[in-house]
């Protein structure tokens, strides 16, 4: 009986849609979980994505081959016996069989994908997705990486310590934190504009920095005029007594400061 066979196919298709939806959700959960584990080891997206696609395909295949009338019956107990009888007698051409097929078809039309959805399971999966997403976002924020581990609190602790040392006058300036060639200092060519040797006298306390004692660059220190100093060096306990009038190339200095501002 063509009608009943097509009905059974329709029901199978409805079930298949639910299987695909479930497999997709499972796949996303699997992807996020894998990403979570692998991101700790600093691995990229490719492996979790590939593994998840394989997982989804396998999940759909596994469940699709297990689609049976029994499952449809379980989900629709009111038409269970009717459906089973129709399926068992689908080749029957009697009047009663036709009447049964008509009734089964009219009642089964009301069966949609929603009938096969397990809403409790679905909400659990969505909850799991949310939790995994939140965990991933949090990990990204703290940049946790076992291979290239960066203590997110280290800088914070260091700042506190520096602040405390500053207060107590025990600051150690031997390592200013920036080194020659660091990106943050800009292109070294910019620094070629200056030809003065700027010496800053620093007292023991941080608030007693004196910028007034700056003298012209000592030619013997910079050598040829084209070889400008590339860094600013602070020398504690050595004051410079020269005046600002001795600066030889004011224009170059003005350009230099403008470029720095830019």
């Amino acid at each position: 009986m063509a009608a009943i066979k097509s009905l059974l196919n329709e029901l199978t298709y409805e079930m298949f849609k639910v299987i695909v939806l479930n497999a997709f959700l499972d796949g996303v959960i699997f992807f996020l979980a894998l990403l979570l584990v692998l991101s700790v080891f600093g691995m990229g997206l490719t492996l979790p994505a590939l593994a998840s696609i394989i997982f989804v395909v396998a999940d759909v295949w596994w469940h699709a081959r297990r689609i049976s009338l029994r499952y449809i019956e379980q989900k629709n107990p009111d038409i269970r016996e009717m459906l089973r009888t129709a399926a068992d007698n689908k080749e029957d051409d009697s009047l009663m069989a036709h009447a049964l097929f008509d009734e089964v078809i009219s009642r089964a039309r009301r069966v949609s994908s929603g009938t096969f959805l397990d809403f409790r399971k679905l909400s659990t999966k969505i909850g799991a997705l949310f939790v995994l997403s939140m965990v991933l976002v949090s990990l990204a924020f703290f940049n946790v990486n076992i291979q290239k581990f960066e203590n997110p609190l280290a800088g914070f602790g260091g700042t506190l310590k520096g602040y405390w040392d500053g207060i107590t006058g025990q600051a150690n300036f031997s390592n200013p934190g920036l080194k020659e060639g660091d990106d943050i200092l800009g292109d070294p060519s910019i620094a070629k504009l200056g030809n003065e040797q700027l010496d800053i006298t620093l007292q023991q306390n941080l608030n007693q920095i004196d910028f007034s004692n700056v003298q012209s660059a000592d030619p013997s220190a910079s050598g040829d005029l084209k070889d400008y100093p590339t860094g600013v060096e602070a020398k504690a306990s050595e004051a410079y007594t020269g005046g600002l009038e001795d600066i030889t190339d004011r224009k170059t200095a003005a350009d230099y400061s403008q470029q720095i501002r830019r």
Binding site: E81, A86, D88, S94, L95, L100
Partner: protein
């Protein structure tokens, strides 16, 4: 075809009308009436067991009236002869010649009420049972087909067994159902008293079906589809009667398996369903099996009835 299929949807209404028409005369006993209809739809016979005075005769008469069938009643007595049932040759004079003419007995009807079948002698019982099975009677060397549809509804009394010839198991097996007719409850009995002792005449019943429509319904009953697992369940129940030796001494024959399935199909049709449900099988297991199993000594000692044992088989 489509119109005929739609007419099947009206079957439930037809059976509801039939039962409500019968209930104009018979109060209560809905299950008994349903089982009688089941037997009729299965083109089979039924054995009714009840105490006297419960309206078995009135009930069967009412059924035959509503179904538009010819009714005959035979009272079982020890001196009842087969010829009293089947008929006999009588000498008739025609044109100055004496010829033998077959005088049909009461069995030439559609519904036969064989009252107190166990009071008839085994020879008479055998004659009746043969007609039930073959739907024909043979007198001398001549065979006469019976009017179709043909049903025998036999009754027997569970008490007052003196001077009776209880039906052997092999013969009770030919009845599709053994229907127990119970006492009505208080309200039903008050209704019965009012209806039959008042000045108002009991309503005349309308004929709703005919022999021909009944034959069509019998055909439809056979066509009711049944799922394989439900069919298997019916057979398993019958097989269990043969394996549960602690409760049952003699189990039911394969005829019981066929009987349960047929009866379940008829019940489905009466209920307006186009398929047999598991409940139909379980409901019909009682009237189909109760006269087909012989309880073991252990079950009888424990005071179990046949229905108790069937209930255990269904678990």
């Amino acid at each position: 075809m489509a119109d005929t299929v739609k007419n099947i949807d009206k079957l439930k209404a037809t059976f509801t009308n039939v039962t409500s028409e019968i209930s104009k005369k018979i109060i209560g006993q809905d299950e008994v009436i349903e089982h009688i209809l089941v037997a009729i739809l299965c083109d089979a016979n039924a054995l009714l067991e009840s105490y006297p005075g419960l309206g078995k005769t009135s009930m069967i008469k009412a059924v035959s009236e509503v179904l538009g069938l010819k009714f005959a009643r035979i009272q079982g007595t020890p001196d009842l002869m087969p010829s009293d049932i089947i008929g006999t040759y009588v000498i008739e004079e025609k044109d100055g010649k004496k010829i033998f003419k077959f005088q049909k007995g009461p069995i030439f009807a559609n519904i036969i009420l064989m009252d107190e079948i166990n009071r008839a002698t085994p020879k008479t019982q055998a004659a009746l049972l043969e007609s039930m099975q073959e739907k024909q009677v043979t007198v001398g060397n001549q065979t006469f087909p019976l009017d179709l549809p043909f049903f025998v509804l036999a009754t027997q009394n569970p008490i007052d067994q003196e001077g009776t010839y209880p039906l052997p198991e092999a013969q009770t097996d030919r009845f599709l159902l053994k229907i127990l007719v119970g006492y009505p409850n208080l309200e039903e009995e008050l209704d019965i008293v009012d209806r039959y002792t008042g000045a108002q005449e009991v309503a005349k019943l309308k004929t709703l079906l005919s022999g021909e429509s009944l034959k069509l319904l019998q055909k439809l009953t056979r066509q009711v589809p049944i799922a394989n697992d439900i069919k298997k369940r019916a057979v398993e129940i019958v097989v269990k009667t043969r394996t549960s030796q602690d409760l049952i001494e003699y189990g039911a024959s394969p005829r019981a398996s066929m009987g349960i399935i047929m009866a379940a199909k008829a019940k489905a049709l009466i209920d307006g369903r186009k398929y047999v449900s598991l409940k139909d099988i379980e409901d019909m297991a009682f009237p189909v099996l109760r006269h087909r199993i012989v309880l073991s000594f252990k079950a009888e000692r424990e005071g179990k009835s046949t229905d108790d044992v069937i209930k255990e088989l269904l678990k």
